[in-house]
Symmetry: C2
Amino acid sequence: MTQQEADRRTRRSSGGRAARRLARESATQELQAYITRHIPPIDILHDEAAELIEANADIVLSEIGIEFRDDQEVLTLLQGAGCDVDGSRVRFPKGLARQLAATAPRQFTQHARNPLRSVEIGGDNTVFAPVYGPPFVRGLDGERRYAEIKDFTDMVKLVYMLPGLHHSGGTLCEPVDLPVTKRHLEMIYAHMVYSDKPFMGSVTASSRAEDTVAMARILFGDAFVEQNCVLISLINANSPMTWDDTMLGALKVYARAGQACIISPFILAGAMSPVSVAGSLTQILAEAMSGIALTQILNPGVPVIFGSFASSISMQTGAPTFGTPEPAKVLYGCAKLARRLGVPFRSGGSLTAAKSVDAQAAYESAHTILPTVMGGVNFALHSAGWLEGGLVSDFAKLVLDADQLTMMNSLVAGIDVSENGMALDALRQVGPGQHFLGSEHTQANFETAFWRSSMADYTTYEQWSSEGAQEAEARARNKAKQMLEAYQAPDIDPSIDAALRAFIEHRKQVLPDSDY
Amino acid sequence: MTQQEADRRTRRSSGGRAARRLARESATQELQAYITRHIPPIDILHDEAAELIEANADIVLSEIGIEFRDDQEVLTLLQGAGCDVDGSRVRFPKGLARQLAATAPRQFTQHARNPLRSVEIGGDNTVFAPVYGPPFVRGLDGERRYAEIKDFTDMVKLVYMLPGLHHSGGTLCEPVDLPVTKRHLEMIYAHMVYSDKPFMGSVTASSRAEDTVAMARILFGDAFVEQNCVLISLINANSPMTWDDTMLGALKVYARAGQACIISPFILAGAMSPVSVAGSLTQILAEAMSGIALTQILNPGVPVIFGSFASSISMQTGAPTFGTPEPAKVLYGCAKLARRLGVPFRSGGSLTAAKSVDAQAAYESAHTILPTVMGGVNFALHSAGWLEGGLVSDFAKLVLDADQLTMMNSLVAGIDVSENGMALDALRQVGPGQHFLGSEHTQANFETAFWRSSMADYTTYEQWSSEGAQEAEARARNKAKQMLEAYQAPDIDPSIDAALRAFIEHRKQVLPDSDY
């Protein structure tokens, strides 16, 4: 290892400087926009195995092919780029998809309206985004019900206030009290106005993607949106090996607008992919490369993310299972395949099949989020708040998961072997049989030495009992209530707010109340 | 990487053979004595940093020195081996401790009375042992109280039945209803008779270590104990840099009897060691090497384990904290230092400060056990059942943690890139837009493809609710009751049982009821 590599792998600097920097980092924790790893990612897929999977993915692309359904424009574009198109089946000659993907940037910036919140996607960086998609919530009093726009807005506010989350996310929950044709307008508005963190665009119809881009132009200005990435949007494959016209429609809008898509095979292994890890990796790579290639055909150089959502299923009942070893292995393998392809990688989160925020929920979430962080995921959707296999957004779990996320920066920082970190003088000064609590070194470093949870209870059993014996879920639900009471919106230019409202009201008049 | 290394890192074999082997492994899961990793351990301490820490540990050993208290025999032995002895302060000339440690084996077998349960300690292997030491239990009905011998025996029985645990452990809880002078006899007896997994020896007095060895001779036979390791015992340092006469007394008995000790600095960083990770690593390495050296002076070649128990503390209250990133980094660093020293490594577990088996308990436990497994720990004490910072042994958590442990074998197995694992034929056969549930490949592999928790609930919300909406803790407490009702003791030769009882009754007559 070179000195440069060694420096990258640890915080190596002089004692005083390191201590001061650590103190600064702690003081500005709330403004830390994303985390950066100084340790290598877990790598359990060796190079020869990766080559084998890449070769097989090329066989899938060239022999089996990928379905691009109900979108003639896309088929024509793919044919023009050298693909063999047969009906809706598209075969990529060997090497073509990888060659097309080569124009995608290895790393890019997604801009937030508050520049301090802008995030770097790719490289050694990890960005945590909250839960995406559930139709239900468990609310502030633990009640389980369909989600409403009030819940959505409350979640945007909480995510804004939670330092562990770097990103406002997208569909924090589905506000089913609003018509499906119009709800995207209020969701995007909530992200734009109640938070200043970066956010995700609507993908449920190409017209809704266009509305999202139009609103982004109001918020950021036309010229800025022309030149910069301000939206990341989730484009799920209809696995196995199929893209549908809704997703292709949204993909086209965003890619042409210079905005980023997450090209995400959505896999319950054994159902949407082979039951084996390597087989799933092969299929995921083929699907992701086909979508990534399309973004680059549409707009060479447009930012794009290699995505993967993969869970195992109970082969007895077909129910999805989370926090199990096989999806962790898919994650480690996929992260490596994405690094080799040279594009940022999305996967992981805090996933669970549990019905309440109990020990099962936490075990399964931890066994997803730790692989996410240690495997080198760049964009982690569902990092907080996910419950019941994604059916429920839970306010308590949002707070608890987000608290866990605040530890990850320390975990990936590596080991400080500066003079201050080595602490040889402290060892000399204290010596055998004494304690370090009052030592100079401890006094100089204690404020920043240890990550401390803001949700864990560290009191004695007696104190905990006398204070009501509250378990983590109850503490977190109280915390969510207190936070929402204390919420203060970030400033926004009133003329921009008014322009956004005017756009929304206009669109609401134009749009039907139903798709049917 | 060579082909041999590649083979070691993945399950690489022909499709049919791999599938058959997987099926066999699943069928014999209950008899899997320990797990073996086929992936490299997490390594976040780079080589230059490790060298720096080793050099500083040598400075601690040679300049500051280690206290060996109230044991003149030990001081004389250390002096004879080349140490500089000044009162009870012992300084090891640079390089001496490492040189003395060189006779310790890199890997050894701890024999169980059932040979199928014997475990390999060291190398790529990990052995999971349960919680050790708590004075309290949370019993089968969730009640919190002082532990009794009935609880101890029940825990031995559960550990015997739980496939995730490879080892019966030691002080599963402190049976405070028995006099401290005699309780070790009933504890060792319970491990020997109610289980056939390997177990740990008593360390609270040298006479109790002698009783343990005497009982092992009855169980295994004199000749076998002379030639083999049948006991592992926990020797904690009185950190910083101090050994007391109780631990030295037990260490001498076991080392001379050819039995293994775990030489374990016990660190709450910031109190018993510097507040920094690298400073703690330096001290832990110095302390461990001093104890390991002593075992090799007493009996060159005797098996010994480099131990580390390290937690952070809340600098506000002094309370120990668990599942935090700094102890994980100490673990990763220590594991590497132990590999470089060439001795097996003990650390980790399923640690938590939580007062109930809630989400906090599970988050913190997962954030300890996953580093334990991925960092390459060889012997993991406290792998199941630990609650309240080690004050409580919890029956429900024992069952839940042990369930989590059953996933680790799959996690460290790596990715199968055999023809069967690659599943290219399944991809060809199924194709775009179809599903894999009924495919030949899925049918051939589904029984072994995915790890499945036996404690997690994967049902729908509706079903879960209709069945009482039980959270994980309640499910686990019921499971513990059911298991104890179904318990059947492993066979033991009645004459050996009678000889053990005779020894115990004799010792009980001889021993005082109190130390005072």
